[in-house]
Amino acid sequence: MLTVTLKPKKEIKISVEAENISADIFSGKTEKEIQSLVVWMGNQKTTIGELFSVKVEGSGPAADTKIVLEGDFSRVKRIGEGMTAGLILINGNVDMHLGAKMSGGKISVKGNVDSWAGREMKGGELIVEGNAAYYLGAGYRGESCGMRGGKITVMGNALDFVGEHMCGGEIIVKGNTGILPGLSNNGGKIVIGGNTSRPGSEMSKGTIIVNGKVDEMMPVFKLEGDEVVDGVTYKKYTGDVIGNGKGLLYIK
């Protein structure tokens, strides 16, 4: 097994684009090779070795690679982008685009994640023990398909637009979410443990389950009556009726 531990050498104040921190890229590389991988800090080209201390133990393929990020990564973006296998353990907070477009493997975060975590994710698993910011599992600007597969679990809260343009996969937020979760939803499943507001506008397919309170409903859903899902009775709505949508919205 390959274990790579990264730790910032000093406080990172300017955001770093680190799509090279990924099990696929690290596997089969020596400590030196990993240190020389390019990252951008603002508009400056630099290397992983310049910014982080790198410790490498063992070796192995991507699927048998563990990356441990110690310390403050709250200004480091795009970690695990496009990852297909392996494990990334993050012991603090991270910046935007964590696990974007990942199709396999697992990322686990002890702290909080910034916006666009799991953006356009195709597979694999993302677990956040803290909170998530905006556009969790959404599609980036203009994209018509957000998350397409895999699973995202957030133990805390998430902000607005959870799973925007989602086409597949599953997002579970144990706490509350901001407004418009599942906006333009086109497939997949969103489960919200706490409260939210205006879920599921422009929904054409997919399922949203809200276990807490809904502050405000969009007037585009049709009440179909009660239905029991996993032993819990919900009010079942379908919509968005304006777009002839077939989305399902369950509210406790």
């Binding site: 980036y140 600007r141 203009g142 018509s144």
Partner: protein, 570 residues
């Protein structure tokens, strides 16, 4: 500066060269008989040499291209290449940024490209972009088909005033030719309607598409414009529309050409050669269209070939785009150009396993293979409607290799076997025919054959060299080599300068913008202007004085003189 290209296998149909080793001499940006011994020598090493590519129909600049960019931020995430010492940064695939337009055309060996539609009102924007597109020569066709003054003069049957208006509109827009999109439909769309055929009457104007098309052809020939009327037919994109297309093409017989070229160019025929009555019995009627072209010498067309994958449809055909957006549940942008035209932009993704898309893909290729004379069927993808222009090499490889077509047919929806003729077509085009569809033919259709599209003495020194040895390759089998060679030229020479070497940009000189200055008798102009002044006073939201594109916006002009009178002497 002098340049001598030695040892090239020159394919130049205009001058009867089919791949013989011929030296090409270049001096001061032109091809000449002979250069001095001081000339720089470029050894082509037996590789294929053609005139620089000429594209007669592509959407490269202007308002709707920019709307495409704005509504497709996701598109700009592909095709990213950073700045180099010579080139600016590039982004995008279907709607690339301005610089990428020039670089990518040059990398394919293209040196002249015409933007296919600009409204006069939006022309200033078009020229701002054209001036920033590096390397290539360019120009823009101006929309006249649904303009209020056009329809007024057509109703009054006043061809003198209409000719004066077209001449003035070309000047106002610094335009190159007359584009006519879904004539009458653009105006009807302002009221949420469309025209369904050549004889629907446009309310408030009391004219029919038939009258608009014939009148514009007449004045186009009165003005002796280099290019003919460039028509986007009514009913585009509707099953069964081939009948409208045939009826429109028949109108060409009513007008006599003023020059050695067609009187009507019907564009992106892929979208106009559809049989059936709905999406269920949708089928190809490309044979009917090709048969018409084979029997008529006054009409030409272009393919508008579809490329599987991402595309952005953009057209002045506003009602069609509304229907598309509804059908596809896609993003939709609608535009209305006051008193002139409509427009719409809708992204689309062409999928091999969708029957309609597979049939459309085959229609484009059928048009090229069934039309006997390549001068009558130009190679385009109606960029970015059928697909981005960077895929021309794919189309060339498909046309040159039946083997590639059969391989491809196996991967697309089986409907092509029942609804298309493509599986049974074994014609394979040769290098000369490809050179006609991409160079000589396009230049001839545009009326630029004196300086573009060939390698004879006096032509612009726009030359492309591809990494193929025509005498050593069998395009039918080695289609992958054909595709890779045509996608990235070994050399592109623009106006005598080497601008591309081995697919990389080496210099970025600025190209010229072609526009046509057509003269009409002064009294016709004065009479017409009285009406225009009234139109501006009553209907337009801007002042007439602010309407014209000023010379400041066209800093590298190439003006072609035309008109119904000889240039007047005071």
């Amino acid at each position: 500066m002098e340049l001598l290209i030695k040892n090239g296998a020159v394919v130049d149909p205009v001058n009867g060269n089919k791949g013989d080793k011929t030296d090409i001499s270049i001096k001061d940006g032109k091809i000449v008989n002979k250069v001095s011994s001081k000339a720089t020598v470029l050894d082509a090493g037996g590789r294929l040499v053609m005139a620089g590519g000429v594209d007669a129909h592509s959407h490269i600049a202007g308002a709707k291209v920019n709307v495409g960019r704005m509504m497709r931020p996701e598109d700009s995430r592909s095709g990213i290449s950073p700045r180099t010492k010579i080139t600016r940064p590039c982004t995008g695939y279907t709607v690339p940024n301005v610089y990428a337009m020039g670089y990518r055309y040059a990398q394919m060996g293209y040196t002249t490209v015409f933007e296919a539609a600009q409204a006069i009102m939006k022309a200033r924007h078009t020229h701002e972009e054209l001036e920033e597109i590096p390397i290539i020569d360019k120009g823009a066709l101006t929309l006249f088909g649904s303009n209020w003054p056009t329809m007024d003069f057509v109703r009054e049957k006043d061809m003198d005033k209409l000719a004066a208006y077209v001449a003035w509109g070309l000047l106002a827009s610094r335009g190159f030719g007359v584009k006519c999109v879904n004539p009458g439909g653009g105006e009807m769309w302002g009221f949420g309607k469309n025209v369904t055929g050549l004889d629907d009457v446009v309310p408030s104007f009391d004219v029919t598409p038939r009258e608009i098309i014939v009148s514009l052809m007449k004045v186009n020939e009165m003005l002796k414009l280099p290019h003919s009327v460039h028509l986007h037919c009514n009913n585009l994109g509707n099953p069964g529309n081939y009948k409208t297309t045939l009826a429109s093409m028949e109108l060409a017989d009513q007008v006599k050409a003023s020059k050695n070229r067609q009187v009507m160019h019907v564009t992106h025929l892929l979208f106009n050669s559809w049989g059936g009555t709905n999406w269920g019995d949708f089928e190809s009627k490309s044979d009917e269209i090709a048969n018409f072209l084979n029997n008529h010498d006054n009409v030409t067309g272009d393919m508008g070939q579809m490329i599987f994958g991402s595309a952005t449809t953009m057209t002045a055909d506003g009602p069609k785009q509304y229907a598309n957006a509804k059908l596809l549940h896609a993003k939709w942008s609608n535009g209305d150009v006051e008193c002139e035209d409509a427009s719409g932009v809708v992204p689309i993704y062409y999928v091999k396993q969708i029957s309609v898309h597979a049939i459309m893909w085959a229609i484009g290729l059928e048009l090229a293979l069934l039309t006997k004379d390549p001068y009558k069927m130009l190679l385009t993808t109606d960029h970015p409607n059928g697909g981005p222009f960077v895929n021309y090499s794919e189309v060339i490889a498909l046309l040159m290799s039946n083997k590639k077509r059969q391989e491809e047919i196996k991967t697309v929806h089986e409907a092509v076997h029942a609804k298309n003729k493509l599986p049974g077509l074994d014609r394979e085009l040769d290098f000369s025919e490809i050179a006609i569809m991409t160079r000589a033919g396009t230049a001839k259709v545009l009326g630029l054959l004196d300086t573009k599209g060939h390698l004879g003495v006096g032509a612009d020194a726009d030359i492309s060299i591809y990494d193929i040895k025509p005498d050593q390759i069998d395009p039918s089998v080695e289609h992958a080599k054909i595709k890779s060679a045509f996608s990235s030229a070994a050399y592109t020479i623009k106006g005598g300068n080497i601008v591309v070497k081995d697919g990389q940009i080496t210099a970025t000189p600025l190209g010229r913008t072609y526009w046509v200055d057509a003269k009409v008798p002064q009294q016709h102009h004065d009479e017409m202007m009285k009406d225009i002044v009234k139109k501006f006073k009553n209907y337009y939201s801007i002042q007439l004085a602010n309407y014209m594109v000023q010379d400041e916006y066209v800093t590298h002009p190439q003006v072609i003189k035309a008109g119904s009178v000889p240039v007047e002497v005071n």
